[in-house]
């Protein structure tokens, strides 16, 4: 049985392209805000996870790598990863690091810190990334935000690829902060409804 393909089944291309564009010009990282704002808006307005369920290109990318390219061991995920404390804990940690990134951006905006042309992987490893930016292209804080946001995206992709390989293809979706957050919003919105 051949399944019908929808336009949104191609969004993995956008997600893949996004990662590549960050190597070309870091300012493309700003586009990643779409993947933050859209799922939140959908869950707040519609009260569902249609973003995860249909549109998310990142989830599709992991499916593709794991299923079509057979890069996944397809093993069950350890129970602690899907436990509430880990999922909510990871969301909390992720948010703290996200606000820290915004703070660094603000420091550059305020002029008390200078632009760092690096991408930080796994919140620890600073990778030189100056080839993707030429000084003076935009105001420094806007570039700092791009470097920071791309760090977030690259880090989550790296973790996602790791768990894609170790467990089932879309294991990232079990602890993805965006997925957890939108599920929490849906829970709050639909409270009391059968």
């Amino acid at each position: 049985m051949k399944k019908k393909t929808h336009w949104y089944d191609w969004l993995w291309i956008a997600s893949g392209l996004y990662l590549i564009l960050g190597f070309v010009n870091i300012l493309f990282a700003w586009l990643g805000l779409i993947c933050f704002i859209t799922p939140l808006l959908i869950s707040v307005i519609r009260g569902n996870k249609a973003y995860c369920n249909k549109y998310c290109g990142r989830g599709q990318l992991f499916s593709l790598l794991g299923e079509k390219l057979h890069l996944s061991r397809n093993k069950p995920i350890p129970a602690w990863i899907r436990s509430k404390w880990f999922r909510y804990g990871f969301l909390t940690f992720f948010m703290i690091m996200f606000f820290n990134m915004l703070y660094v951006t603000w420091l550059v905006f305020a002029g008390s810190s200078s632009l760092q042309e690096t991408v930080t992987l796994l919140w620890t490893f600073r990778l030189p990334w100056q080839w993707a930016y030429t000084d003076g292209m935009v105001t420094p804080w806007a570039a700092q935000f791009a470097f920071g946001f791309y760090s977030v995206m690259l880090t989550s992709t790296a973790l996602g690829i790791l768990t894609m390989a170790m467990f089932k293809p879309r294991s990232w979706c079990v602890y993805c902060p965006m997925g957890t957050m939108t599920q929490l919003i849906c829970k709050a919105k639909n409270r009391g409804e059968g």
Partner: protein
């Protein structure tokens, strides 16, 4: 006669929708974004959803046990 039926552990479901995408019968929906719901009238017990679920929260149960 269909003997098996997919059952979601709703407490542990992360509502990612992987099951929904692979179900050949469109038997799965996630109406409120909190957990997946399987329509027993449409499910043919193929087990695709259970195999794909990244959180491993779908089990295949026998129809008799359900009834």
């Amino acid at each position: 006669m269909v003997k098996k039926l997919a059952k979601v552990s709703q407490k542990e479901c992360v509502a990612c929708g992987c099951c929904m995408k692979v179900c050949p019968r469109k038997a799965i929906s996630i109406p409120r974004g909190v957990y997946a719901v399987i329509d027993p009238k449409l499910c043919v017990g193929c087990g695709m959803c259970a195999k794909t679920c990244p959180a491993d929260v779908i089990s295949m149960i026998s129809r008799e046990a359900e009834a």
